[in-house]
Amino acid sequence: MNDNYHIFSDGRVERHNDTVRLVTDDDEKKYLPIENAEALFLHGQIDFNTRVISFLDDHGVAMHVFGWNDYYSGSIMPERGQTSGQTVVEQVRAYDDEAHRGKIAREIVDGSIHNMRANVTYYDNRDYDLDSTLDALDRRREEIQSAESVEEAMGVEASARRAYYGIFDQILPEGFVFGGRKYNPPNNKVNSLISFGNSLVYANIVSAIRATALDPTISYLHEPGERRYSLALDLADLFKPVLTDRVVFRLVNRGQLSDDDFDSEMNACLLTETGRETFSKEFEQTLDRTIEHPRLNRKVSYQYLLRVEAYKLKKHLLTGEPYESFERWW
């Protein structure tokens, strides 16, 4: 099991004997079984010292830190990561070769559109008439094949996502008005949920990339790493519909989130601590879902699919065997 642990309260994370424990500000002690952990997600104000970092390092556990506005702000990764000069060289070579870069970028957009379309189809089969969106996505998918530059590919991706986001207001119940994607900061409840979900996808992909020797800053669809792990942005696009969006639909349609779970001030709308807790619980359950993988011949978790995606890209770069981006097959 590769479990993620989310910490929402304020306090201190420390090594205690051979475990990690959380001591909250009101002096409550909680032990985290990190033997099976993939990463700790720190959402509150947390103190920690070098002892706990060494301990997590020994166990190969990453720590992802989130800022006040739910945004990913950085990671403390285990030292025993993978390094391979050869991998990075091939990664850069592919980036520098316009045709090669374009091909990978188009493949990522193609997979992203497929995965958006899978969500639309799901709701189209459930009393909603979403034919026009399906048509629009199909046209974008045709367009992507002939996109000549990476900018053009980015443009196709953006207009596909716009068409796709257009169905949200149809699917989501009253009280959850979306009106298009806004972030920095999110302006309403739906946008705050998408922002939070996408940052969780992103952090999980940072961990997955780290399991390979790929350099997280060298990317193909997005421009390479200005302050961000742009390769994680590339791969996150593929998984947002499967992870973030489905969790948003599920929680909102089941009425699991109320106005109390959001904090609105100025133009920003952010999840409260309990809101984030509810969201990440459902998100983690989604990551733990398993699906029969046709090539690996066994059931794998959604979370492991992120790792597989990093493997696929790395294998493509090293061997020249074709890269086919993740497309939801179930």
Binding site: Q82, T83, S84, G85, Q86, T87, A211, T212, A213, R295, L296, N297, R307, V308, Y311, K312, K314, K315, L318, T319, G320, E321, P322, E324
Partner: protein, 192 residues
């Protein structure tokens, strides 16, 4: 496999390349053969290619964990690891024999080839003749291994074969084998 060297007109035979750089520090050669490469050559040439490109193995893989455990715990008191030029690292028993410990005898040929390579290397580079023993502690089985003219040839052919695989720009294509599922490269190899 004989006549292999003749096909390489104008090029140094990989066996000589390896020997020259092993015997003389001044000879720089990017071509090294480790014991594990010998094993992989026999088991799966794609695995060998991945290994040569620093593709990470999945250390959480149960078979990797098991192999490491057997290797770390078996015959602990009676054997010591010997690193030679940082290129090969055979284990020696008290009686001076080279031992190769394997968790099971299912992949016995690859382990035998690895052991033979150690014996060959010790003989050709270091100048000591050693006997070997192949041990499967979990099955309480041991088997003596000696370097003969015939298996010397097998080692040298493997060195040439490894050279070809490692020098190739692309790995051999994936091919389903009975032991694929237990391979530490399985998910990397079959992800697509």
């Amino acid at each position: 496999m004989s006549g292999h060297a003749d096909e390489r007109t104008g090029e140094t035979d990989p066996v000589n390349l390896l020997l020259e750089s092993a015997r003389d520090e001044a000879v720089e050669s990017p071509f090294h053969v480790t014991g594990v490469m010998m094993q992989y050559y026999e088991v799966c040439k794609r695995e060998l290619w991945f290994e040569s490109r620093d593709v990470e193995i999945d250390r959480e893989n149960p078979n990797v964990v098991r192999g490491t455990h057997v290797d770390e715990t078996a015959y602990d008191e009676k054997r010591r690891n010997l690193s030679i030029d940082g290129r090969i690292a055979p284990d020696l028993l008290d009686d001076g024999r080279v031992v190769e410990v394997k968790p099971s005898s299912t992949l016995v040929e690859p382990a035998r080839l690895q052991l033979l390579y150690y014996l060959w290397y010790l003989d050709r580079v270091v100048g000591v003749e050693k006997e070997g023993v192949l041990a499967h502690p979990t099955e309480r089985k041991r088997e003596s291994v000696e370097l003969t003219d015939e298996n010397e040839q097998q080692v040298e052919d493997a060195i040439r074969g490894i050279y070809d695989v490692v020098r190739s720009d692309t790995p051999p294509p994936a091919k389903e084998k009975p032991f694929c599922e237990s391979c530490a490269y399985h998910d990397f190899c079959w992800s697509c």
